[in-house]
Amino acid sequence: MAEATVETTNTTESGTLLEVNNLVKHFPIQKGFLKRTVGSVRAVDDVSFSVTQGKTLGLVGESGCGKTTTSRCILRAIDPTSGQILFRKEDGETVDVATMPYQPLRDLRRDMQMIFQDPYGSLNPRMSLFDIVGEPLLVHGMKSSSERADRVAELLRLVGLRPEYMRRFPHAFSGGERQRIGIARALALNPRLVVADEPVSALDVSVQAQVINLLQEIQESLNLTYLFVAHDLSVVRHIADEVAVMYVGKIVELGDTEKIFANPKHPYTSALLSSVPIPDPSVRQDRIILQGEVANPANPPSGCYFHPRCEYATDQCKTEEPQLELIDEGRWVSCHHAKDLDLTGLSAK
């Protein structure tokens, strides 16, 4: 594992569990009989951020913005094209997940786990709860069935399910209960980082709140760090300490949740916040209605990817690509005019 180790001094601050540097994932576009590569979809295009131990980073954006691809690269469910994914292990050693070989990666799986969006597709319907929740334990060496049963019972209790359900199959459970099973499975190995990919968006509203509460409870009791991928901004507001807003494979704004929601600095963030329908008929407000469509990541526009839809776009935006810059304490924005614009956010009445 020595080859994956990076000097901790200048790359990782103390308290940072995960640091992503210049992450890129391109999917080749292949055509024809011989599958020639004729181009690429820039699903994730130079993304950098870090997550502090015990905190939650919300990764938000619309479909196709690359938030899911980013999260899967971090877990190495898919291999990134380039970039660094630095993870600080329990013993303080920092490793680069992006280039890690198979065996150490497999050991690292203990530390990073995932909660899936679809409570139906993410549990193997042919396995009982014991086998589903116990699988991570089994493949990481807990061979004794009774030991596993004890741990599975403990995990089920932790997520609010009865241990007696262990012999049942997923088809006996509702969406919310299945999501709890998925959470129990993710927690089996005592991970330190949990990537939650839209964990509540497939659930009914009345069940969503239960799962959000559960996620927060276990974060507190187990000192978990979350990378919370979501498109529902009110859920992100509720659960995330920091937010990264993505648009066409890039982070356009990154910073403290409160500040971003109250005072967005990127026109896209502002439009996104303004688009959210608020469950209160008395605040029907003038929305910023974005014109046109999300840019095609296989053929993005020149300059700033957002410029064709941006009402503040200038000639500079059409030609020059903005970089993610620190404009305030802990506040990163990728916009040429970030400092000049006065954008509306959301604040309590």
Binding site: A77, Q113, G121, V139, H140, A172, S174
Partner: protein
């Protein structure tokens, strides 16, 4: 929205009352619950089970020695067994005598009403090896008096062929040969199909492209001529068993491609499933993902597609043997029996020789109905 949910999902509170049996039901149990709703498939399954159950009993049920030529009684029409006479239960057949039509000079048989040949159960007639090694001459039904046997070796309930062989006994043996060819052929194509389809689907990319092109090339070759060519190449002096295996292999050459496609498609589909990614992230090895997660997810689909491809094999063997390119005498199969009915005048004069087609039709239909039911039950979570 209500109609979307097929499998009941319930509140925690109601889980207590819910059928515990349902909660802990494995995929096979769920499949069975779903399958048994298809009455036609159930009936088809029972019929096929009965056919396959005759395998070890073919000779025991068979009445006359299927290999015995008895030309005195060739082209005898089916003879009904009469179970009762004036004195009560007294199974017998009426004796027959040959005659020649005085106008057409056509030979024929007529029933001798008052001469009765008694029929018995568990009688001793011709000798055979039960299950291949127990020598016996017991049969379920037959002519009970050994004196009569010399005059008439069988009851001929389905008549006799040109050599006076008992059609019923030959049909019993054919069922065994033809149905087992279907099974063995499908087993061979299954193995090739799963291995190649699995490699294709699991690794993808270049390997997949090559295997897919091979499948396409095989698919482009017309089936019957190639079968005929290959069967013609089977040496004349091969023993019955050798020819039997040669023919099954020839039949499997086309059979595996369909299976490989099914397996490949399933692998592609399953690779993208969240639960497979979930296993990968849990740290499961590739082998575990393949054998614990992916394969069990389509066992049931394989079973369904097997039941739909067996009839193709049976028909294939029947066609080849009918054309004289498949199994050869002294082996007996549906195709070989139907060879007797190749000649239109034979069919006109001795229509009972066509009877072999009836079990073929029943078996093929039964497999299709069964396959339909299985296919529907194959994914109990859908």
């Amino acid at each position: 929205m209500a109609e979307e949910a097929v499998i009941p999902s319930t509140a925690s509170e109601s889980l207590e009352q819910q059928d515990e049996e349902f909660s802990v039901a494995s995929q096979w149990r769920l499949m069975w619950w779903r399958f048994r709703r298809h009455k036609l498939a159930l009936i088809a399954g029972v019929i096929l089970a009965l056919f396959y159950a005759t395998f070890p009993l073919s000779e025991f049920i068979g009445i006359g020695d299927p290999a015995l030529n008895f030309t005195k009684l060739s082209f005898l029409r089916p003879q009904p067994i009469r179970f009762f006479d004036d004195s009560g239960f007294n199974p017998h057949v009426n004796a027959v005598e040959s005659y020649r039509d005085k106008v057409t000079f056509k030979p024929g048989f007529r029933t001798v009403e008052d001469e009765r040949v008694p029929v018995g159960f568990f009688v001793k007639t011709w000798e055979y090896s039960f299950l291949g090694f127990i020598k016996t001459d017991r049969h379920l039904i037959g002519i009970s008096d050994p004196a009569d046997l010399a005059k008439r070796p069988s009851l001929y309930i389905l008549g006799s062929d040109s050599l006076g062989r008992d059609q019923f006994s030959r049909l019993m043996l054919s069922t065994r040969i033809s149905l087992s060819i279907g099974l063995v052929g499908v087993a061979i194509s299954l193995i090739i199909g799963i291995v190649l389809g699995g490699i294709s689907g699991f690794y993808g990319e270049l390997v997949d492209t090559i295997i897919q092109r091979i499948i396409e090339i095989i698919g482009g070759v017309p089936t019957l001529p190639l079968w005929m060519g290959l069967s013609a190449a089977v040496p004349q002096d091969w023993a019955v068993m050798q020819v039997y295996f040669a023919i099954t292999v020839i039949l499997s050459i086309f059979g595996w491609t369909g299976m490989a496609r099914v397996v490949r498609g399933k692998f592609f589909q399953l690779r993208e499933e969240d639960f497979v990614m979930s296993a990968r992230i849990a740290g499961a090895s590739e082998g575990r993902i393949m054998f614990i997660h992916m394969l069990p997810s389509f066992y049931s689909h394989i079973i369904a597609s097997i039941s739909l491809s067996i009839p193709g094999m049976i028909i294939g063997e029947t066609a080849l043997s009918f054309l004289g390119l498949g199994l050869r005498a002294p082996a007996v199969s549906f195709g070989i029996m139907l060879q007797e009915a190749q000649n239109p005048s034979t069919v006109a004069l001795y229509p009972w020789l066509m009877f072999v087609a009836v079990p073929v039709i029943i078996i093929v239909l039964a497999f299709n109905f069964l396959g339909d039911g299985l296919r529907d039950a194959a994914d109990p979570y859908g």
